[in-house]
Amino acid sequence: MSAAERQLRGDGPQSPRRMEETARRANLRLNAHEREVFRAEFGNVLHFLASLQETEDGPARVLPPCLRADEARPSLSQEEALRCAPAAVDGFFALPEQEGGEEDG
């Protein structure tokens, strides 16, 4: 078993606690069926992913800066952008109010 696999298997996402934690970070809520299916198959999927051997490819190359300067260009109007929104108020996207502050990061 490779080091990567041992690391993965130690507390991989197939464990209920880690799966819930990973789902929370991904902004997903899994139903009972999804949890069952993913727990059953993630061991094999991770075994497959962990089959990756270490590869030496020399030192990392430093690429020259290649980003262009930011500049404003014509784009969608505010009205066009809001037309697709599920809810909008006074020219802004509208969301349900969050009670109890903004924790839950």
């Binding site: 999804e34 990756l52 009670e99």
Partner: protein, 472 residues
């Protein structure tokens, strides 16, 4: 297929006034009506818009002012490319009612060339899959056998072209999503060099891999489609500044004198019929004057896990934008955080959630070195190996898919499905162009072989594909 005209021949018929663009469009719409109840290649048919565009083309053609060789010729668009005022779902409940306010650049360029958009084709949800089975709106069926898969994720586009519901189609190829369904359905599928066609308006799955791809019945049609869609686009930061090319000038030049590598691992990993077809293609090319020699790429098998780690990681980050705030499905929740989580949970299907979870996991601090960084290093090494091989050879010949279209009833686990990308992932990992061309069959089901080439040498790929197709 040979008896059907090519898209270029249709364009010539329009310019000769043998038929009108309206008649041509109506004939394709009638074929869509006839085949769709069984095939389900389309998610949206934009009938009225297509007929209006055809009428515009007829006015230009009557005035002797066609915009391009394909003016008035219909095409289909994979439903992960944005189309102004035509819904774009990505085959996901999350975007079921999304109507984009702009066209993807590839689409707008075809419209500007006078091409007539027929509608939007089915795919695996967010292009994550290889058989259209993860589409939230039901799978596409294989045109030759509805009990079988068409391949994917551009399965709707491939099936539409193969069944002559459309003469041309746009797709997208992240790890083989144009070439694999092209092989399974028996059409030509081209993944251009990364940066050749703008990705603006293509819903990203894994942006460092994603490329707009092309599906057609002939390499010449593919060349014409590429000439119209390629070119720098300031809306895509990864779009390359390349001069305009025809891609068709050398199509008839044959393969004499070309050095072609036959990938040994490609033969070893393919099913018997696919292996035989690939060997026959090699023999055929040799008989036509090419020099064919074996090539080994020992990292081939490892490219697959590397590809899935990197694409899952990119997908988990990239799909964070689908939160039901600015567009797309919004589910109710107590507060905006819960609303976002519920929206994503209700909108995404199993395969998308699977990849987001894997991607989130491999990007966690504890896993980053074991998975993500290691996969990145393998990607660099693979790209270097391929560049080195393509310094010695003009082209690499390998199968496109390990097997022919399988039956829907054969339930496959995710790993079995991932392995169908084995031969298409190398070009994607290295950003190289590759084309799948139909060559041979097994029990009436098409087999595709693939040419992979140097960056920006799509013309050579299409020339080899054309030469091989003439020998079928």
């Amino acid at each position: 297929m040979a008896e059907l005209p090519s898209a270029l021949a249709l364009g010539q018929s329009l310019r000769n006034h043998t038929c009108s663009a309206r008649e041509l469009t109506e004939s394709f719409l009638a074929e869509i009506d006839r085949r769709e109840p069984e095939l389900h290649a389309f998610l949206t048919v934009s009938r009225e818009e297509a007929l209006a565009a055809a009428d515009d083309a007829d006015r230009r053609l009557a005035a002797g002012e066609p915009l391009s060789p394909l003016d008035g010729v219909p095409f289909a668009v994979k439903d992960n490319l944005c189309t102004k005022n035509v819904r774009t779902t990505c085959a996901s409940r999350a975007l079921e009612h999304f109507v984009p306010p702009y066209d993807a650049t590839a689409v707008s360029r075809l419209r500007a060339a006078g091409c007539v958009m027929l509608g939007k084709t089915n795919l695996d949800e967010f292009a994550m899959g290889c058989d259209t089975g993860s589409s939230a709106f039901g799978p596409t069926r294989h045109p030759l056998d509805p009990a079988r898969v068409p391949g994917g994720s551009s399965g709707g586009s491939a099936a539409a072209v193969a069944s002559w519901e459309a003469p041309l189609a746009l797709g997208s190829d992240t790890g083989g999503s144009v070439r694999q369904p092209a092989a399974l359905c028996g059409v030509v599928g081209l993944r251009p060099t990364y940066g050749r066609i703008s990705r603006s308006g293509l819903t990203g799955f894994a942006p460092s891999f994603d490329q707009v791809g092309l599906l057609a019945r002939t390499p010449a049609d593919c060349a014409a489609l590429l000439a119209l869609t390629a070119g720098f686009d300031p809306l895509d930061a990864t779009s390359a500044r390349r001069p305009a090319e025809s891609f068709a000038d050398q199509l008839e030049a044959g393969v004499r004198g070309l050095r072609i590598a036959l990938l040994q691992e490609g033969l070893d990993e393919a099913g018997p019929a696919v292996r035989r077809s690939t060997e026959r293609a090699a023999a055929c090319l040799e008989s036509l004057g090419a020099r064919v020699e074996p090539l080994s790429l020992p990292f081939l098998r490892e490219m697959l896990p590397a590809y899935h780690i990197l694409t899952a990681a990119e997908a988990s980050s990239n799909l964070a934008r689908f939160d039901g705030v600015r567009y797309g499905l919004r589910a109710p929740g107590a507060g905006w955080r819960e609303s976002i989580r519920e929206s994503r949970s209700a909108g995404f299907g199993m395969e998308v959630k699977r990849r987001i979870l894997l991607g989130t996991f491999v990007l966690e601090k504890e896993q980053r070195d074991a998975c993500f960084s290691r996969a990145q290093r393998l990607r660099r090494r693979t790209a270097a190996d391929l560049r080195e091989a393509l310094g010695r050879f003009d082209l690499v010949l390998l199968p496109t898919a390990p097997e022919t279209a399988w039956r829907w009833e054969e339930e496959r686990d995710p790993l079995a499905l991932y392995r169908s990308d084995l031969f298409t992932v190398p070009a994607a990992i290295a950003g190289l162009p590759a084309v799948s061309v139909p060559f041979g069959e097994e029990n009436g089901l098409p087999i595709g072989v693939q040419f992979m080439g140097r960056a920006w040498e799509e013309a050579l790929l299409l020339r080899a594909a054309r030469t091989l197709l003439q020998e079928v």
